[in-house]
């Protein structure tokens, strides 16, 4: 294996999360709709109907182009790609061909080993989706709901070198699309559909060998598995002296195997030409400025900054930038806390994430505000409450909407570190547990934990455990 190198390029269709379809007023998302109920004369291609472009689609394409550092084109065009297929109601797909919204660009993808792979972007354009065909009992059933759903097709150069790199690219792309609110990027709902072009060569060679195209990979794990299998197959074939042919392969998710698709059609001529029903897409400078005005710091840049600015470990930075509202939340909490940021990071990674997972929320949806998180950590730091109380406070603030201070006061959660009160409790426990006292005094030191636990229980969790332990030890030894 090590003497070979894999060359992988990915073509990804990204379903945008706009309200409406790309050329009509039907809603873009038909996930829960019965077949052919979310259609109109335009998206179902009735005679006489005309497409009218949705500016929100253009805005999202512009934002993605910007994130890819591509050249955004002031003027681009929609073209017709002509071919017959039953779920393509007009007999052509409206797409962008030779003058698309952006040219060039790249994405720097960090790899788990700490290296970075620069992936070139060869194509980035807007287009409409086709419908869905299902074969059932010898009949073709067609659902036009998906017709006209806005897509961005993005094609990378042959720049990825392993199945893991391909998977990593897709992980980072998915993160970015959500970050920029371009797509829900839910792969289970086919919001990201990826085809992989795969070839191999002997390490050190610079030419490209014949590639195969893997279709129908609908999750990051299937991409990884499919590409891995195909690389292995090509190496085996190469070593057996066979020629690699330009097959189109279909990934069978259930069988976890690649199947050669029946036949590759002869190279189709789509007879592209500019769609006369649509004017050029002209980006007015003022509009463009508006679209890019609130362009956020991107996840990889933020990740690097978290490491640099806060001295966070890469592991923390990675998790805290996995999702935009989480990273915003973290930064807001860190700013309010004004202490060691790593401490905020620990609370985020252990407790806030647990809360989010349990509740199925995103950080931006929490009632527990970032300043309140900082306040809770500060209460713990100041020994006003103990750590377990602090952790339970997260949930109490989230559930009640009250401030941490209010809850501490109302429920009397302040830590008991008053030595008189603690001593009273300790004496009570010692008096009622003569057996354990005897054992402890006979040398079973580990029983101190049991005594502290009793005291914590007696104090309803409010005792300062360190102070309690000191008093107990003093009394038991005395």
């Amino acid at each position: 294996m090590t003497q070979y190198e894999a060359i992988i390029g990915l073509e990804t269709h990204i379903q945008l999360n706009t309200q409406t379809k790309i050329f009509c007023g039907c809603k873009a998302d038909s996930w829960d709709d019965a077949p052919n109920t979310n259609i109109c004369p335009v998206c179902s291609g009735l005679p006489g109907s005309l497409p009218v472009p949705n500016a929100a689609v253009v805005a999202k394409a512009v934002r993605l182009a910007k994130a890819m550092q591509a050249d955004i084109q002031a003027e681009s065009y929609f073209d017709r790609k002509n071919y017959f297929y039953p779920d393509l109601p007009k007999g052509y797909q409206i797409t962008q061909y030779d003058k698309s919204i952006a040219t060039g660009g790249h994405m720097d993808v960090p790899m788990p080993d700490g290296s970075t792979r620069r992936v070139g972007i060869h194509k980035l354009h807007m287009e409409e989706d086709a419908g869905k065909t299902r074969n059932e009992k010898g009949r073709r059933l067609i659902d036009f709901n998906r017709c006209g759903v806005p897509l961005i097709e993005m094609v990378t150069g042959p720049d990825l070198r392993s199945a893991d790199e391909a998977a990593e690219y897709l992980i980072r792309l998915r993160q970015l699309l959500r970050w920029l609110d371009i797509s829900e990027a839910d792969m289970e709902k086919a919001h990201l559909r990826t085809d992989a072009n795969v070839s191999i060569r002997v390490r050190g060679e610079t030419h490209l060998n014949t590639k195969t195209e893997i279709k129908n990979v609908n999750s990051i794990e299937s991409l990884r598995a499919a590409v891995e299998k195909e690389i292995a197959r090509q190496i085996q074939a190469y070593e057996a002296g066979e020629r690699i042919e330009a097959w189109t392969l279909d990934w069978d998710e259930n069988a976890q195997t690649l199947r050669k698709m029946r036949s590759k059609e002869t190279e189709a001529d789509y007879r592209y030409f500019k769609d006369p029903d649509l004017l050029a897409v002209r980006l007015e400078p003022a509009w463009l400025e508006g679209v890019l005005a609130d362009f956020p710091e991107l996840p990889l840049a933020r990740r690097a900054r978290f490491i640099e600015q806060y001295g966070l470990p890469e592991y923390d930075a990675n998790i805290l930038t996995s999702e935009r509202s989480l990273s915003d939340y973290f930064e807001a909490a860190a700013a309010a806390y004004a202490g060691d940021v790593k401490r905020v990071s620990n609370w985020m990674m252990n407790d806030v994430l647990k809360l989010l997972n349990e509740r199925g929320l995103e950080a931006g949806q929490l009632k527990l505000r970032p300043e309140q998180l900082a306040e809770i950590i500060q209460l713990v730091d100041a020994n006003t409450i103990n750590t377990p109380t602090g952790k339970s406070l997260l949930e109490k603030v989230q559930d009640s909407g009250h401030s941490p201070q209010e809850i501490v006061a109302a429920e009397g959660l302040s830590q008991v570190s008053d030595s008189g009160a603690l001593r009273e409790l300790a004496e009570k426990i010692i008096a009622s547990s003569p057996d354990n006292v005897e054992k402890y005094r006979a040398g079973k030191d580990s029983l101190i934990g049991w005594f502290v636990g009793q005291l914590m229980r007696e104090s309803q969790g409010k005792a300062d455990p360190n102070a309690a332990r000191a008093i107990l030890e003093e009394l038991l030894k005395g």
């Binding site: 109907s49 005309l50 052509y92």
Partner: protein, 529 residues
Amino acid sequence: MTELCDLSAADLAARIRAGDVSAVEALDSALARIAAVDGRPGALDSGDLTAEDAAKVHAFITLTEDRARAQAEAIDKKLAAGEIPGPLAGVPFTVKDIFVVEGTPSTAASRMLANFTAPYTATPVARLEAAGGVMLGKVNLDEFTYGSSNESSAFQPHPRNPWDPSRVVGGSSGGSAAAVAAGEGALSLGTDTAGSIRQPAAFCGVVGVKPTYGRVSRYGLIAFGSSLDCPGPIARDITDAALMLNAIAGPDARDATAATLPVPDYTAGLEDGVKGLRIGLSPDFFKITYYNHDTGEMEERPLPDDITAAVMQAADKLSDAGARIIENVPMPHTRYGIPAYFVISRVEAASNLHRFDGVKYGHRTAEKAADLRSMYRKTRAEAFGPQPKLRILMGMYVSAAQYSEQYYQRALKVRSLIRRDFDLAYDPNGTHKLDALLTPTTPTTAFPIGDVYGDSVLMQYADQLTVTADHAGIPGISLPGGLDAAGLPIGIQLLGPDFSEATLFRIGRTYEKETAAAAWRAARPKVLG
């Protein structure tokens, strides 16, 4: 006595609004005329032409009498209630059957869509109805608008010229022009892609307006050449055409190519005359250039004297009325209009016809197809007539990857040169500074049925003088300019810069007034007896 159906739309609407006549009476008059002159409507597999058929107009494919009556009654009710029912209140109109109208068959005169009932209404039709117009029905055309005589309709008998039923009506808006000429509705909505409004208007002695591209929404127009198609009015006089354009013009959120410029009142300046306007004559519009198959050379042929004379007389009349006539305006790319059109329109047409595949609506072969491909092939072979098939073949050929540069891209360049001819002629800082060009509309008057049909190249040259306006996107009007020696109408054409419809109407209206007393104005189409 003049029947209601012979009144102009403006006149009829005024009388209806004044309560002198009812919309239902106006409708009944139009229906009576249809019953008298139209004969049987166009239909698929309609059998041989009878002697009686040969004397009738056959403008209609579908008469929507019930719908029309309901609309007319609603107008009368509104009037009775003191409401103002719109500028076209109670005016019967017809619609070229290339527009979809909700709940009515929308056939494109093709077997492919013979069974297609549209679930929505085209914008210009909806606007006519909103203005109070009463839709009589859908009228015939060349199949999918592909032709200049209406002979190619799958719905036979095809329309016949009211002035001489042995002659063609022109096309493709032939049913529209014939209906208006014969008093079967005062107005008709047509479409112009190479001359399809102006040429039949000229042949039938009525006014036809091809507005600036985008001035009227194409939403609901079954597309031919999407970059060329323009819906527009066909009427009996300029005032009616202006009234109708008022109703249908304007921005439309459903058509991205519809112009957003505000619409002026086209009737406002009609009587203002032509004093000071600069009207051009170009020698390039007084000849046709065509390809000789035998020699392989382009040949020129002068126009018939009758037609040239009619245009020159019109120039004199306009000059008398105060216009400045500018001669020898060069329009050198006019001769390339047809070849460029052949390429561009067919590329668009072939693509536009892709959707007719037997999957969703329209014809599907009754034969058992072995697979999807053969279902497509059989369906399209059965349901498309020869004209769509020719356009598909040529369109596919010239847009193929290996030929596109040579044909399609080149034709687009020619198109921009044609546009430049007009830009130079109208340039306010240029040599000619024209407000309009005055030209003949067609190289001949209505030709005999059967004479040209079958030679689709020759048929296309009927559009040579009109097609350049479609390439350039500029407005053009054809209006009656006399009769030839055989008593057939001659059309004269006015071409102006973008959005100059109001000026063209003004010139046309001045010409109408200047020729009001001419003997030919009194002539009536033969079918009206």
